[in-house]
């Protein structure tokens, strides 16, 4: 007997954890968290009062909103995920992460990417694809750093000392694989210059790929890694076993399989072929139960510990996070029901929904994880439970104000847009009426955001004090742990096929990949490979050179953050905007500009609706022609010159991607653009505009706006919709 024990003793291997890396990511989470939340509060105030745009290109909503979303998702939540994964993975696998160096490359590479985003987005370098706005050199860096992370993770998996992998690890695997696939495919683009590219996909295809990505960025960046964190940190914090192992299995596989299909619910009533919309909607409903499987396993683990939830701030954060996760994943399927979507889409309701997820789930989970992890990492106690409690209430109240104001604003606006009286007239024909109505809600939301930010600042003070007061000497050396090698823990063959699979990590990873690739292929491939996916229309022509220049300005300024270019097939939209959009009209749009919100009106049919002078006045000061407008002023468009010479290169790239430009057009692009500008100037000069404005960006932008949606002509014969 003692001999057996001794031989086992000698087999034990010693290892330690690279907690220094975890500490680095934890600190980065706090730093970028404040930045992301501050930017969110800033852009919230920009909608409440346009003056917050500061008349400066670098601070307009169109450029700061993408910075806020990217900072929140990739900088704040991203670093939190990495901190949590680097903390839990080695502990669950009984091994050190495979490479300290790869961990450092991951950390510093990621922080550099964030800095690059923070500089390039305000400067107007953007691809305009939501949550994927970064230009191509940064995209490549993201892909490389992510692969480094993935390689390090899978090597760690290989050298584990625990035969079977825990449910948290399943979710990490799905995250790493899927984000790589999503990010690479959605960012396929052809460079024009160092910081400008055109999407490989055009129009409807681009929209489909983007929202397959956009929706699954929510799924596989904001959800699956956090479910992994939930399965580790809640159980550790509450010391209770997971509620149901078989629920873990069924909700994991159904979640990752179903989630990937649901992207097209972002494109309901759009020009996307209807079968794709129908499939996206159906899978969104089917997604409800798999999502709630995670919620149940999280909440029911807390059974028998509810008295502690009342007292311990960490558990408060976790319980609230999981509850909001449940709420948001119920609201999501609800919003993808077509008749609900018809009202909610393009409104602030969607923004409220997103923040129920990002603040309610990601922020609350992150706070809980940090409060649990930081004292453990620095071998000390949390400095102040009271401060953590104040943060909890501040953030919760702020979030409730946020969600409720956005519900009110969104539903109000959605109903006002579609109100038609008995004489067939729009009840609110002036779009700006529907904006002015909800401005009080924008103030409430901004105030809610301030409370959320305030709470996070308390977290930083609390954790700073915690770290500062930690005993120095105990943090000198890494703690040593002992475990038997993998060979000592045989594959469990009695626990059923899934138990066996948990021991076969390569097969597990391959099956995860299969689960996410099936839906992707079925939804994307017909669009990308078939020539018949989009009906052609010979009347639709590529943009003329000056319009290309104008379109690039439209993209640069982030106009899509407030304006859609998509008239939905509804009577109220036809009355307000004109002819319903068709897929054929977008075939030269790289990238597509459908947008996801109508803070301002749709622009699909704005071409020819106003004269040049109207646009000139409007861009200089929107309130001069539309009293009550909340759009920023764009004075720099009246100073910056159009880069006419760059147009040859741009047309060349667009031609290579399939736009039928002739060689003459490409070679003479700068000259053609100047001639076009002269025509616009003829009218502007009659209105008193100085001759020297001819080479300014405003003229190119007017050229683009006047072209929008005009190719099919003005009349909307209903039959042409078919």
């Amino acid at each position: 007997m003692s001999a057996v024990v001794e031989s086992r003793e000698s087999q034990f291997e010693t290892f330690s954890y690279d907690d220094k890396l975890t500490k680095m990511f934890a600190i980065a989470t706090m730093v970028w968290g404040v930045v992301a939340l501050f930017l969110g509060v800033w852009v919230a105030f920009e909608l409440a009062t346009y003056k917050m745009n500061l008349d400066s290109p670098y601070f307009t909503f169109g450029r700061l909103r993408p910075l806020h979303t990217n900072a929140a998702i990739f900088a704040f939540v991203g670093n939190a995920i990495f901190a949590g994964i680097y903390y839990s993975t080695p502990r669950l696998l009984k091994t050190r992460m495979a490479s300290d160096l790869m961990g450092r490359i991951h950390f510093w590479g990621w922080q550099l990417i964030i800095v690059a985003a923070a500089i390039s987005l305000p400067l107007g370098y953007t691809t305009s694809k939501e949550y994927a706005e970064l230009e191509w050199p940064i995209d490549i860096a993201v892909a490389l750093v992510w692969v480094t992370f993935g390689v390090n993770f899978f090597l760690t998996l290989k050298q584990r000392r625990e035969r079977h992998i825990y449910v948290a690890i399943w979710f990490y695997i799905a995250t790493i694989i899927t984000v790589a696939v999503l990010y690479v495919v959605n960012n396929l683009e052809v460079p024009v210059s160092w910081m400008k590219s055109y999407s490989l996909f055009a129009g409807v295809q681009d929209a489909l790929v983007q929202w397959w990505y956009g929706h699954n960025a929510v799924a596989f960046f904001l959800t699956t890694p956090f479910l992994g964190l939930m399965y580790y940190f809640i159980q550790k914090a509450v010391n209770r076993p997971v509620y149901s192992y078989r629920l873990s299995i069924i909700h994991f596989w159904s979640l990752i399989f179903v989630y990937i299909w649901a992207g097209p619910h972002h494109l309901l009533y759009s020009a996307l072929p209807e079968w794709v919309q129908t499939v996206g909607m159906a899978f969104s409903i089917a997604l409800w139960a798999p999502s709630w499987g995670g919620m149940i396993n999280g909440l029911l683990t807390l059974r028998g510990a509810w008295d502690r939830v009342r007292k311990e701030p960490i558990l408060k954060f976790f319980a609230t996070a999981v509850t909001f996760y449940g709420m948001a994943t119920f609201e999501g399927p609800l919003l993808s029901i077509k008749s609900v979507n018809a009202i909610g889409h393009f409104t602030d309701w969607i923004v409220g929904h997103v923040h129920a997820g990002t603040i309610g789930w990601n922020y609350m989970m992150t706070a809980g994880v940090l409060y649990y992890m930081v004292p453990k990492l620095w071998k000390t106690e949390l400095w102040s439970q009271r401060l953590a409690n104040i943060q909890f209430w501040s953030a919760t109240i702020g979030l409730l104000l946020y969600i409720m104001s956005m519900w009110t604003a969104g539903i109000t606006k959605g109903l006002m847009w579609r109100a038609v009286d008995e004489t067939g007239k729009l009840v609110y024909p002036d779009f700006v009426e529907t904006v002015i109505k909800i401005i009080p809600m924008y103030w409430v939301r901004a105030f809610g955001g301030v409370l959320v930010l305030f709470g996070f600042i308390l977290l930083i003070i609390n954790l700073y004090k915690t770290i500062k007061l930690a005993p120095k000497e105990e943090n000198q050396e890494e703690e040593k742990f002992k475990a038997l090698p993998l060979s000592a823990s045989p594959l469990d063959t009695h626990g059923g096929p899934h138990r066996k699979l948990e021991g076969l990590t390569l097969l597990f990873s391959v099956l995860s990949f299969v689960a996410i690739i099936i839906g992707s292929m079925i939804e994307l491939l017909p669009a990308l490979l078939s020539n018949n996916f989009i009906a052609k229309d010979a009347r639709v022509k590529p943009y003329r050179p000056l319009e290309v220049a104008g379109r690039d300005i439209f993209v640069r300024e982030g106009c899509y953050t407030c304006h859609s270019q998509l008239v939905r097939p509804m009577a109220a939209e036809k009355l307000r905007y004109g002819r319903v959009s068709t897929a054929a009209e977008y075939v030269y749009d790289r990238p597509f500009q459908w947008g996801s919100r109508r803070i301002g009106p749709d622009l699909m049919r704005v071409g020819g609706k106003y004269n040049h002078m109207w646009h000139y006045r409007h861009m200089l000061n929107p309130r001069e022609v539309t009293p009550g407008s909340i759009m920023p002023n764009y004075p720099w468009l009246f100073k910056n010159k159009v880069k006419f010479e760059a147009l040859t290169k741009k047309l060349n790239v667009l031609a290579a991607l399939g736009a039928p430009y002739s060689k003459e057009e490409i070679d003479n692009a700068p000259m053609l653009a100047k001639e076009h500008a002269q025509k616009i100037m003829n009218e502007l000069e009659a209105g008193g505009v100085k001759k020297k404005m001819i080479d300014k960006e405003i003229v190119a932008l007017i050229a683009y706006l006047q072209r929008l949606g005009t190719d099919l002509g003005g009349d909307d014969e209903i039959s042409s919709v078919e």
Binding site: Q235, P241, S248, E274, T278, A282, A286, W292, G304, G424
Partner: protein, 201 residues
């Protein structure tokens, strides 16, 4: 199994839980194997069944597409608009005079102009984005009368940015706009340079 029971100090509530506890232990985390809650299973199966039925119904069983629904909705609205256009289509000077004699006609004229026209023609109608309405030059009219103004405002001229107002304004509101314009014309206030032809009548 190499289950190290010792390093898990999880709280186990009762006998049932003890029986449901699995032989899993990861960094001290254990797992129960509670059966799936029945309401959850029903939701799960219900969601899948719904999805299959929904896809079948809309893609194969001939349910109306969004476009068909739109065409139906739009043909109803178009019928109403046609009716309305018939009502506003004919300008009857006697009907106009009867309206103009009403007490709030002048006030309505001012309101309609400021709400709808002033953003392009300025408050006093002296022109900015749109032409000066106080001079004797007109871009779209050869004769300026109640009837011709009414007719033009109704349909507009898309080429130079004047919207068609027939589906946006009621007949009274169109009358109101005409009243305001008739008062402005030939008052020759300083403003935008004249555009179009001089109209004598």
């Amino acid at each position: 199994m190499n289950h190290q029971k010792t390093d898990a100090d999880n709280i186990i509530l009762n006998k049932t839980e003890e029986e449901l506890l699995l032989d899993h232990n990861y960094d001290g985390i254990e797992e129960f194997d509670y059966p799936l809650p029945s309401w959850w299973s029903v939701t799960f199966i219900g969601g899948v069944v719904f999805a299959i039925f929904y896809i079948y119904f809309y893609n194969f069983a001939g349910a109306p597409s969004l476009k068909e629904e739109y065409i139906q909705e739009m043909s109803k609205v178009n019928a109403i608009l046609e009716e309305q256009r018939k009502l506003t289509g004919n300008f009857d000077i006697e009907e106009y005079n009867a309206w103009a004699a009403s007490t709030d006609a002048d006030e309505m004229a001012n309101t309609v102009f400021q709400d709808n026209c002033a953003s392009c023609h300025l408050e006093g109608g002296t022109g900015d984005i749109g032409p000066n309405l106080t001079d004797s030059y007109w871009l779209n009219l050869k004769e300026v009368s109640h009837g011709t103004l009414y007719g033009f405002i109704r349909v507009g001229n898309e080429d130079n940015g004047m919207p068609a107002w027939q589906d946006l304004l009621t007949k009274e509101e169109l009358f109101a706009a005409v009243t305001f314009l008739m008062k402005l014309k030939n008052t020759n206030q300083p403003g935008k340079e004249p555009q179009g032809e001089k109209v004598l009548k």
